[in-house]
């Protein structure tokens, strides 16, 4: 047996999980899909004293079509979200991002909320949260709050979630009407964590000028990051390959990765720029097709 021992509690609902967290506090971890946590426990990088299992709560998967976006219950598996018709229609970039997460066997258990609170800076769903202005519904035994994605990610694997709090649901906002999206990532093998990823959304006004731009990179810093300087360089401009090439140079403002065993920091910076150009080009052609 590879994991260290722990005491096991099975929550029957997310409310019940909050009660159990209040009782066991800092030494307890929530177990959802377990696709990151159990791997870390097998390595004994994680040795929680108490595990609160929310993988068998009543109705774990809920996806709701709301006026300003799509709300996904945190315990919904990535596979269910990936194939959900509402997600595919209203948030096609999210559906595409979900397909990039590991392999289908992992997505059958891994949850949408679990990946977000795990906050691996190279993973797709934290980046999608920033791209789609997500709002996180967070609950403890005594309190409820809503937090914006931009306030949630602190640094590597660290979020604003307190030890007695549980992520309940995520509202991913639908991008503007007639917008287009692009998503590109580079990984060593299919299904691996991205070395670098870039996602973009663009909308055009009646005159064909860029009226909305959103660019988010992942795998390039301690959290996913919005490239606001790239966005500013696009707004009000006529989109072209030349404009995208010029704007994408500004990704260097947010790339803050050190060289690691996989690649150098210089490589990451270059790839971030190239992938951003490609993501923008895809977003433009989809926006043109939509309008």
């Amino acid at each position: 047996m590879k994991p260290a021992n722990f005491e096991y509690f099975r929550a029957t609902s997310l409310d019940h999980a909050c009660e159990l967290l209040r009782a066991h506090g800092d030494d307890a971890k929530i177990l959802a899909g377990g696709q990151s946590l159990i791997a870390a426990m097998n390595y004994r990088l994680a040795r929680p004293q108490f595990l609160i299992d929310i993988s068998n709560i009543d109705s774990p998967s809920e996806i709701t079509d709301e006026s300003d976006g799509v709300r996904i219950k945190a315990t919904t598996t990535q596979a269910i979200a990936e194939h959900d018709p509402v997600v595919r229609r209203r948030l096609p970039v999210l559906a595409n991002a979900l397909e990039h997460i590991a392999h289908f066997q992992i997505r059958n258990k891994g949850t949408v909320g679990g990946s977000i609170v795990n906050a691996d800076p190279a993973s797709e769903l934290p980046a999608m949260s920033l791209l789609l202005d997500a709002e996180f519904e967070i609950q403890s035994a005594s309190d409820k709050q809503v937090m914006a994605a931009e306030d949630f990610f602190i640094t590597y694997m660290t979020t604003a979630l307190q030890s007695d709090e549980v992520l309940i649901s995520i509202l991913f906002k639908a991008p503007p009407e007639n917008s287009g999206w692009g998503l590109h990532e580079v990984a060593r093998r299919a299904g691996d964590f991205a070395l670098v990823g870039s996602a973009a959304i663009i909308a055009l006004d009646d005159g064909g000028k860029c009226s909305f731009a959103r660019v988010v990179l992942f795998g390039v810093a301690s959290t996913p990051v919005r490239a606001t300087e790239v966005e500013d360089a696009l707004l009000g401009q006529s989109c072209s390959d030349a404009l995208f090439a010029e704007a994408a140079k500004k990704v260097s403002e947010v790339v803050d990765a050190e060289s690691d065993v996989h690649v150098t920091d210089e490589y990451r910076g270059n790839v971030a720029e190239v992938l951003t150009v490609r993501a923008l080009a895809d977003a433009l052609s989809r926006a043109q097709a939509a309008s």
């Binding site: 994991p3 005491e7 696709q35 159990i38 097998n42 068998n56 590991a102």
Partner: protein
């Protein structure tokens, strides 16, 4: 010392009652407590796919699942595929096309492909390769595995059943 927990698991249609430490992985439970050693354990962190089993019909990593999480679910392992020693069409396709060499990865591949072919009964070779990307094989270079999956799909279609 953590107390043991009683567990009742349905594996291949049989209900097993045991007492285990909560940290017991489903992969270890299947192998050590049920002696169903067809499920292989490779990397034990979700990468290699050898330990893939079906949980309520969906392929998952048994090394990234605690046995206690599988209570109330229907578990299927590679031992469920044959009928009294007669290979299933999927197993037979691997036999006929030499879809294995050492065989270590084969149980995980069979369980992944059983679910994949149910979901996509007429896959092309690219779709098969994509579906195989979560199962590592270090012997074959995958070529004969892809052939085997193609043959299994064709056999299922020609026999008029989607059952793999």
């Amino acid at each position: 010392m953590v107390d043991k927990k009683k567990i009742s698991l349905n594996v291949n249609g049989v209900t097993y009652d045991r007492e285990i430490e909560p940290r017991t992985l489903l992969s270890d439970f299947i192998r050590h407590h049920l002696d169903l050693t067809g499920t292989h354990v490779g990397c034990e962190h979700g990468i290699c796919g050898s330990c893939t089993i079906l949980m309520d019909g969906l392929p998952v990593r048994s090394c990234l699942t605690f046995a206690l999480q599988a209570e109330g679910k229907a578990i299927e392992t590679v031992e469920s595929l044959d009928t009294n020693g007669e290979l299933s069409p999927l197993q037979n396709a691997f036999w006929e096309n030499q879809g294995l060499q050492c065989g270590f990865c084969t149980p995980g591949i069979l369980m992944s492909m059983k679910a994949f072919l149910k979901h996509n009964p007429k896959p092309n070779r690219d779709e098969i390769r994509e579906a195989l990307s979560g199962n590592l094989c270090r012997c074959t270079g995958y070529h004969d595995i892809v052939d085997s999956v193609v043959a299994a799909a064709e056999a299922a279609i020609s026999s008029g059943t989607a059952k793999a």
